[in-house]
């Protein structure tokens, strides 16, 4: 088993936070936790390459870093790629997740990483990758690497991978059919009885929960503010130039409205499979209220209506997409100096 391993500056033995700007270094053989991984995997496993990179460098040059690693792995083939364990180090987790996903997608090499559940890398990559639940306690390194090694062995042997609880990885959001002895009604009643008795029970499907979002402070001087319109109703220019999907959209677009005071149906179409789009098609201001906003601008109620509106489609869109879309759109709004946003949702 030939393995490549990705580590940050700390686990790579370079140093702590002051070395987070360190660029990528490629070592032959195992470094730090990689040596432990090798010993746990047995004599036919070798870490051929270790990539060590500072966390800041990794986040600031993610695309370059990923490309460099992929290039190296094209010339030196491996059977498995391992990153971390990252514990709750957020930059490390983000980098490890991005690199693992690229290695898996571009090179078809199985990947294993490990993070604590709160690591921001988990949110972004849990559906794409096996992320062993490392918890936050770095003193448990040996246990975590042992679980990573166990999963590595299965992946390398093409063995069927069990449930998150069995293998120790974070839930990926998959639903799997399984034949069981007890009927659903029986299982449900058993769970209910356990719950009423105050006993432990395991839900078969965890309910999604949403963390509260801190409320941004009110706009203090609206008459000087730059306001932008955003919609998830899928309004796009005719021809849908950015090919925004009408379900589970992975893209958003920004469209120029500078100088117009009305949206006309003939210039737009709607890419959204979830509602009857006739009314918006007739008059897109029914979704993106440009005409009213332009009046507000002319009357000095707002300082400026931003020259672009942003659009995507919210239909049946998994959080793994929408969290990213929201983040990207917010970054764009910030770059454009937008002070406030009106989001219209269907």
């Amino acid at each position: 088993m030939r393995i490549a391993h990705y580590l940050n500056q700390f686990f790579g033995g370079i140093g702590a936070e002051e070395h987070a700007g360190r660029a990528l270094e490629i070592h032959e053989g195992a470094v730090g936790p990689g040596k432990l991984l090798e010993s746990l995997l047995g004599s036919d496993a070798r870490v051929i390459l270790t990539f060590v990179c500072g966390d800041n460098f990794a986040v600031e040059h993610q695309a370059e870093l990923t490309a460099a690693i992929l290039e190296k792995l094209r010339e030196t083939r491996v059977d498995l790629f391992v990153a971390g364990p990252c514990f709750d180090a957020g930059r490390y987790g983000m980098a490890a997740g991005a690199i693992c996903r690229a290695v898996q997608t571009e090179l078809g090499v199985p990947v294993v990483t490990a993070m604590s559940e709160e690591n921001p890398g988990v949110d972004l990559y849990r559906d794409a990758l096996y992320i062993i639940d490392s918890g936050t306690n770095v003193t448990k390194l040996r246990d975590v690497v042992a679980r990573m090694a166990a999963l590595c062995k299965k992946l390398a042997a093409n063995d069927p991978i069990g449930s998150p609880t069995q293998e120790g990885y974070l839930r990926r959001g998959w639903l799997r059919d399984q034949l069981v002895e007890k009927r659903a009604a029986t299982r449900l009643v058993d769970m209910l009885v356990a719950k009423m008795k105050g006993e432990l029970f395991e839900s078969e499907m965890p309910a999604t929960s949403f963390a509260p979002v801190p409320m941004p402070a009110a706009v203090r001087n609206l008459s000087k503010a730059r306001v932008m319109l955003i919609t998830d109703g899928g309004l796009v220019p005719k021809g849908n130039p950015d090919r925004i999907e009408g379900t589970a959209a992975t893209r958003w677009g920004s469209y120029n409205i500078g100088g117009s005071d009305d949206l006309r149906g003939e210039d737009y179409e709607v890419s959204h499979g979830g509602y009857d789009t006739r009314f918006v098609q007739e008059d897109p201001d029914r979704l993106v209220p440009l005409d009213a906003m332009r009046e507000m601008e002319k009357n000095g109620v707002i300082g400026k209506l931003h020259d672009e509106f942003i659009s995507t489609c919210g239909r049946s869109n998994p959080l793994s997409n929408t969290r990213r879309l929201g983040r990207e759109i917010a970054e764009k709004a910030k770059r454009d100096g937008v002070d406030a946003i009106i989001l219209t949702s269907t």
Binding site: V213, R278, V280, R286, I341, S345
Partner: protein, 60 residues
């Protein structure tokens, strides 16, 4: 940010802090049943409500 939607419970569930009730799923800031001039007036009022929410620190 203020969100205008007819599906206010969904917006509140996911954590949206400022939510103004839109007219309908199929015409959030409009009403196809109204004659054009009235529809525009409705839209103005709705947008003003949204702008008011942006200036308030009250959750809605």
């Amino acid at each position: 940010m203020v969100q205008i939607t007819a599906a206010k419970p969904i917006a509140k569930m996911v954590g949206s802090n400022r939510v103004v009730l839109g007219t309908g799923i199929v015409h959030v800031t409009g009403d196809a049943k109204l004659p054009p001039a009235e529809e525009k007036e409705l839209r103005r009022k709705l947008v003003q409500k949204a702008l008011d929410a942006l200036q308030s620190n009250e959750k809605q």
